[in-house]
Amino acid sequence: MSFFKKLKEKITKSTDSVTEKFKEGLSKTRNNFSSKVNDLVARYRKVDEEFFEELEEILIQADVGFDTVMELIDELKMEVKRRNIQEPAEVQSVISEKLVDIYNSGEELSSDLNIQENGLTVILFVGVNGVGKTTTIGKLAHKFKSEGKKVLLAAGDTFRAGAIEQLEVWGDRVGVETIKQAEGSDPAAVMFDAIAAAKSRKADILLCDTAGRLQNKVNLMKELEKVKRVIEREIPGAPHEVLLVLDATTGQNALIQAKTFKEATNVSGIVLSKLDGTAKGGIVLAIRKELNIPVKFVGLGERMDDLQEFDAEKYVYGLFAEQVEKADL
């Protein structure tokens, strides 16, 4: 059985809500998936340069990035030669296999969160402006709360107009408390307060919002380092996770974002937001490969429960199929 078939079967058979969400989010993808792939391969009698060129286009249009695409194509060519594959149909499985391989290369990294069994777990959220940090926190708060955990939010975006209120609305919606200070106050001081509050209220999870900042703003990145330092000082081992929120529509700049935020705050995972649009955020492959940062969650909408754990296989499936569909037009 081919890899694609296996993958497809795995996905269609499982009926859990996670898969349903993924399917909903990537709905444009799934429709007639196999026929679309067949269309691509049907147009080619043999696996030749042209075939690879079109494949290259498909992947670049998913924002995978030129270097990663070239590497993939090279490996594919080798694999095709090695297995002596003539039929384009047979290449299908290899493509997906290789994509998952690229994602899984390097260290084994789990996409699970580092949650403390006993005591407080602090999660810091970082990212550029407008990627969906606050929304992601709201969704994650909901997830933890429904798991029976005591959650607290820290309104660390003291800069953007209305940011504190935005987090508070999410807090009210989910039913968790938000620790805040006035707009314009020192975000590190907010964290200090929030940690004290979390300790005294015996919270399990503290989710820390920060202001969006472009990674080339040195002073703002330093401010972020300070926020992290304060958290480290108050609780040894914290923050237990630093999650970089990336907008799936972002192109190659996402790699620079990941690199710079990693240098400043030692990012431990990525939340790929807004994956319910037509963008696929293929750059996470390069980020995983070059910086060894795993994707931990994907955002698939604006509702509270629209945050799902990342699954490389399902992601690749969506990534590829969607692009094939586009290439067909």
Partner: protein, 450 residues
């Protein structure tokens, strides 16, 4: 990991064909591969790149190489020109309705920066055109979006029309226009909720607002960091709403901003403004030739020149230049110069605009701390007149006094003096170089990275 600019990319190719009189087909082919890569890395859409490269190749083959240029420079020149052309007219104006108020609708994906841009545009309309805009809080979905616009309104001392988040945006727009007429506002800026271009229900809502308000402008707000998907977003918003222009945001980041080209290519609608920061005055008209240079990674020379022109006192500049030439440059002049440069804006931004700045060793990673410059100023100000004129007078007791006076350390004083000496040396060399270049007929400024 920062992506190489086209100029850097073409470097090796150019070595091979230096000195040729004509650009051959093979040369073009080789160089176009690099052009293609540079554009893809800048996030220009794949199909747009394809068409573009084809067009440029056709134009480039067989071209006479201008005397002052190398074949590589010639190609860059053509690419730059075509790119600029493709991005269309510059400095687009905002429409004015002959039956006020003029209505502007702001639309786009989530997180593109619509609300911030709404505030900036209102500020611009008031400051530059002396208009009286009314801001309309039409994003009833995102938590605290209304509050965000209200806060911006307060900062700008501008009225914000809101009916809370329980009234439909269409109704809000309707009442807002009535209110604007009543209060004699000549512009109405409607902020709307971010939405996906594939969200049918929400896109219909925008159509309804459009139908009702008959806006004079519909601005699509797009994040400059957007990747390949920019074409889908722009095309979809344009087809469904008929946008009149684009505002490109977050261009103060380090993205190349290839999305600009993609959007322009698929919608044929002008990019009217760019957002360059979080402050309410961080908005500028779009300049196609600057964007072209940026996408190609060639530095934004024109912006730099323009900034310098508007901010540097010409008399003083001449005086300084004279001093540099004669090497009678003192610490006082240095202080003066720092002040002049600082007027241009944040220094790291200036550096980014310099062509080839990325190639100077050590300079591409340099981070200029504005605070440090203040420290330098403090140190110089703590010197006596005599010391400023003749730094060689400096001894340890003087240095200690200066350090105390400026609140810095002696080591910092030493470092500054050393830097100043180095600078003087460099100036001597530079004036030498300039004179040589003049003899050769001068170099073309924007194309000198080779």
């Amino acid at each position: 990991m920062a992506f190489e600019g086209l100029a850097d990319r073409l470097q090796s190719t150019i070595q091979k064909i230096r000195g040729k009189g004509k650009v051959s087909e093979a040369d073009v082919k080789e160089m176009m591969r690099e052009v293609r890569l540079a554009l893809l890395e800048a996030d220009v859409n794949f199909k747009v790149v394809k068409d573009f490269v084809k067009k440029v190749s056709e134009r480039a083959v067989g071209q006479e190489v201008l005397k002052s240029l190398t074949p590589g420079q010639q190609i860059i020149k053509i690419v730059n020109e075509e790119l600029t052309l493709l991005m269309g007219g510059e400095q687009s104006k905002i429409a004015v309705s002959n039956r006020p108020p003029t209505v502007i609708m702001m639309v786009g994906l989530q997180g593109a920066g619509k609300t911030t841009t709404t505030g900036k545009l209102a500020n611009l309309l008031r400051k530059k055109y002396n208009r009286k805009p009314l801001l309309v809080a039409g994003d009833i979905y995102r938590p605290a979006a209304i509050k965000q616009l209200e806060t911006l309104g307060k900062q700008l001392s501008m009225p914000v029309f809101s009916l809370g988040d329980q009234v439909s945006p269409v109704e809000i727009a309707r009442q807002a226009i009535a209110k604007a007429k009543e209060d004699h506002h000549d512009y109405v800026l409607i902020d709307t909720a971010g939405r996906l271009h594939v969200d049918e229900a929400l896109m219909n809502e925008l159509k309804d607002i459009k139908e009702l308000t008959k806006p004079d402008e519909i601005f699509l707000v797009v994040d400059a960091m957007t990747g390949q998907d920019a074409v889908n977003v722009a095309q979809s918003f344009n087809e469904q709403l008929g946008i009149t222009g684009v505002v490109l945001t977050k261009l103060d980041g380090d993205t190349r901003g290839g999305a600009a080209l993609s959007i322009r290519a698929v919608t044929d609608k002008p990019i009217k403004f760019v957002g360059l920061g979080e402050k309410m005055d961080a908005i500028e008209p779009f300049h196609p030739e600057r964007m072209a240079s940026r996408i190609l990674g060639m530095g934004d020379v024109l912006t730099l020149i323009e900034k310098a022109q508007s901010n540097i006192d010409e008399e003083k500049a001449k005086e300084l230049e004279q001093k540099m030439r004669t090497a009678s440059f003192t610490l006082d002049d240095f202080l003066e110069q720092l002040g002049q440069v600082r007027k241009l804006g944040p220094l790291d931004e200036l550096l980014k605009m310099m062509p080839g700045a990325g190639k100077i060793k050590g300079l591409n990673n340099i981070q200029i701390d504005e605070k440090q410059i203040s420290h330098v100023e403090a140190i110089i100000r703590s010197m006596t007149k005599e010391e400023k004129l003749r730094p060689e007078l400096m001894n340890s007791s003087r240095k200690r006094r200066i350090a105390k006076g400026s609140g810095r350390t002696v080591a910092e004083v030493n470092r500054l003096l050393k830097q100043f000496e180095d600078m003087k040396k460099m100036m001597k060399q530079m004036t030498g170089m300039q004179q040589k270049a003049k003899k050769k007929g001068g170099f073309k400024f924007p194309f000198n990275p080779f």
